[in-house]
Amino acid sequence: MTSPQGVRAQGVGASLLRKEDARFLHGRGRYVADITLPGMLEVAFLRSPVAHARLLGMTKPEGAAERVFTFADLDGVGHIRAVSGLPGFRISEQPVLATDKLRHVGEAIAACVAPSRACAEDLVAACVLDYEELPVVSDMLSAGLPGTALVHEHWSQNAFLETTRQDDLSELDAIAAAKVTRRLRTSRQCMAPLEGRGVLVEWDPRLEQLIVTTSTQMPHVSRTGLAEILGLDEGQVRVIAPDVGGGFGYKGILLPEEVVCAHLAIRLGRPVRWIEDRLEHLTANANCREHHYIVTAWADAGGRLLGAEVDATVDAGAYSSYPFGACLEAAQIGSIFPGPYTLPKFSFRTVSACTNKPPILPYRGVARTGVCYALETTMDALARKLGISATAIRLANLVPPEAMPYRNLVGKVFDSGDYPEALRRAMASVDLAGIRARQAAGECVGFGLAVFCEQGAHGTSVYAGWGVPIVPGFEQATARFSPDGVLEIRTGVHSHGQGMETTLAQVAHEVLGVETARVRVVHGDTALTPYSTGTWGSRGAVMAGGAVAEACRLLGERALAIGAALLQAEPGAVELSGGAIRRRDGGAAVTLAEIARTWYRQPQNLARDVDKGGLEVIAGYRPDPDTGTHSYACHAVTLRVDRDTGEVAIEDYLVVEDGGTLLNPMIVDGQVLGGVAQGIGTALYEEMPFDAAGQPLAGSLADYLLPGATEVPDIRLDHMETPSPWTRFGQKGIGESGAIGPPAAIVNAINDALHRFGAEVLDLPATPARVLAALEAAR
């Protein structure tokens, strides 16, 4: 609603303060670990101490046969299978507790059950494991070599999938003014939401239903997966996602631990709970990323790209996780690599390598962060070789606004925007001449850029092509009035920091005019909400926002018909505005609350031909086309490198971004800022190293370094707002954007600083040790 001053107070575009804040500020958030039930048992898992072994047996502690469960004890429980429809995909079967083989450190072998977690851990410590070690596949680059041990012995090689594309690049050497080749690597990371995973399951004998309270981003998908593996019908599984302490992709998968706890709750007839601790999180479960690239690119003298060739390997770990699978990162590299540019020729080979490491899981930015790093550092290398600026080479290749909507050579369709303008705005806000002057004076400072676009909210047509177990269709939402006139919105996505209890209320207010204080957004419960694939892929604002708007529009039509009858007017003579149905001639009005009271409590006043559907509507929404929105951004970084210690200090971090119409600018800012902080972690700090035996080497947050308030600068944000032509309000998915650009921009800035010393950083994170090694190598 637009107020008389033209200020959008509560609707789309308002920076409305969050409705959900109050409970969190008072410590009244309710996360899985906060919930206990009478008779509840806690689970601790016996986990594999080695990366690859034949499991010969496990001796349960004396007298604990009924409290320790191995796979052999789980009757009727299937394996987790996440099969990709892409041709050539090799299928892994992930047992929820190990069967004959151990395939990564931390793989669950047995579930130990006790009244407290501490006592359950005592049981774990008393189990005796018997295994025979096998050669470990710890390096993704040599995993496919002949003679290497096989992680899955019925496979012909250690790879889930290989994808290729071949353009004729043979003439480029002859015609290019510059050619560069770079070998680049990103580390294995852990998503590290502050709350780990956790699940509490009880069996309701009256309903014959499992009630699974779990820390998930996708309750409906978890329900489908659980039902399939447990052999239940979906009506027998209710999944509740309560408050969730950050997700970032990690809570967008079904965990073996959830399946085991569900089975045990049925079997034991008591509530069963498992709360992941940080050691489990880091070493057994929350692994992501780890890319290796060999990139070659050719450009003409003006910096125009002539072609690129990419050989990419992703360490996908031991299993394909449900639902997104083992190829989520590698198989996307080919389609994402052209970036925001008009690349004319492109060849690639990607490999999803299978190793003795925990399965690779989605993390904010999925594949894009690594690809942006590979592409944008290569762009800078080309620019340096050509002797042109980082700005010039990008302006020579960015998709121009007049080409929108633009289909690139691999078939991605960019919806709208002015990519070059984002770069120009960034450069106008940076004192590059001052940085160059400091460099000339001998200071080790650098400036770096990353320009990228992010496909978000892509739908059926895209995911059907991947053949993943879940293909998002029409996103649905329910809108209904309760008898007191409060508007209730029910959505199948889940909000775990994104502020959707606020933004979806704003969408409802925009359409129906109901005060946001009188809009309740219900989410996170399969029993209360319509099916949705959940919150991932930067889809919430576009998909749930669109669905809520559509449901409210239809609800408004129902209310209008009732209101017209109450006003004794023809429907055409009334309109919905300001939360009431009003006569267009300025006469009488009836509020939506009065209409609700009439429908539920005074039906004698309804017209005889009233729509019997009443004041509850479920509606579906899908953008057309559904190839996704493309938000885009330019990240511009100024930093200092200490040549003695290798330490990097960010002086200025600027983001110019375009998320289309912003439903709530404050919340979008928060998403971008939080993403950038995570990207800074990827760029400089976060690394889960493994030794040659496949042992993870960072077991606590003292080893796995997350950026704190002293590492993340006061990031500057500048918005452009180019509406997407394909979405309800012009909004674009932007939730992951912030995490994509930082490694590229930061390493480009580091290399800008080190260039004069002949040094170049190639691997992430750019830790002091790696910066010093780069300087040393150049000596």
Binding site: D21, G27, G29, P193, L194, G246
Partner: protein, 162 residues
Amino acid sequence: MNRSAISLTVNGAATTLEAEPRTHLADLLRGGMLLTGTHLGCEHGVCGACTVELDGAPARSCITHAGACDGASVRTIEGFAEDAVMAALRAAFTAEHALQCGYCTPGMLITARDVVLRLPEADEARVREEMAGNLCRCTGYRGIVRAVLRVLEQRRSAAAVA
């Protein structure tokens, strides 16, 4: 395992609880007293989500032995209802969008309150340094830092008027 009695004052009320010797303070508060606003993030004393006020100063309840708290006074996020500084911080956290998932928020607020009371002249750099022991994975810290600075500024203005 043996359980021993621990007497302590929690949020102003004297109480005695039984706990195993290995119990840490966070589990005692969350389990025995249902004070679930104290969150566990790392159980290594790194992330700060479990920060409570122990005898007037912030402490990591995940690495504080419950048994060592016999006779101590503990205040958790649930114990600041009447506290004006906490009220100002809560308002500032909302206004500056200093929280998203809410998991770090209780520990963040307790640390922030200590900073506000102990360092009334703190500038942005000092606030960042003081808050560096509390990790947030959602916000990028800008809102948190601005919220603390906002309350510091309010208090300096109020003091100047007085």
